[in-house]
Symmetry: none
Subunit: 155 residues, 2 copies
């Protein structure tokens, strides 16, 4: 893991979330204590704690304001369907990765499956497809695989 500030913030938030699945912060304080500008917290949240990835974020401005992050969890079929539906007709490498990681971290899919799916939709595997089609192909493969995955086992 790279030592970028964004990654530190991410890690810190994940640690807090690991305790009870929810965390509430004061944006400015956190930024202060990490030595970055407040808006970077927003950047991290919007690039990593997305609904796609299984988080809901609420906030409030003004005096006594806060930012609250909650990790949501769904049952297997619902989670898979949700994921499939969220994919759309195109998906870029980062979003695909997020989608897979999200399912993995929530225990919807397993490490082995995640690896296979990740390998299939990786930019590396898709190199031979013309750039303009890549995200469309990625979406197609991802959806097919998730569907196939849901056939896989014990519900």
């Amino acid at each position: 893991m790279s030592p970028s500030i964004s990654n530190q913030i991410t890690q810190m938030l994940l640690d807090m979330l690991d305790r009870d699945g929810t965390t509430e912060i004061r944006r400015n304080d956190l930024a202060q204590s990490l030595g970055c500008v407040p808006s970077q917290i927003n950047y991290v949240i919007s690039s990593r704690f997305t609904p796609e990835r299984g988080y809901i974020v609420e906030s409030r401005r003004g005096g006594g304001g806060y930012v609250k992050i909650t990790r949501v969890s769904l049952d297997f079929p619902t989670a898979i369907m949700h994921a499939v539906n969220s994919v759309g007709s195109e998906i870029d490498p980062l979003a695909a990765r997020s989608c897979i990681m999200n399912l993995l971290s929530r225990g919807v899919i397993e490490q082995n499956g995640a690896r296979l799916i990740a390998a299939a939709v990786d930019e590396n595997a898709l190199r031979p497809v013309p750039y303009e089609y890549r995200d469309t192909v990625r979406a197609s493969i991802l959806k097919q695989m998730l569907l196939a995955y849901s056939q896989n086992r014990k519900g």
Copy 2:
């Protein structure tokens, strides 16, 4: 073994890999320290650390970016490596299917894995890719997935 810069880079990466099978570099730093242009690192990676030779490469751009190379474990079934090498640069749906079935029937891969791989290289998933590229893409994906599979525990 000429002392070309590419060979030096290769050797350095191999040395790093010998420690724990994985290595993460900052492309620009490495290029700097070896006195070559950054893009030469890409050349080395794409010419020597290929899936056929048993390497998985991941990377990230932007601040805190990196290039990570992983060598699949030395004790993984040679059968998989054989399969990867037998695939070539193109493969049609039928051949792909029989490749997968073959590995499955020999117990090299499992039902679940076979299903995922089959889904990914299926004509259905690849529909969005122009016909002329399909078999090439299929080959690329298949190889990447088999390689990823060989990373799975209890293989």
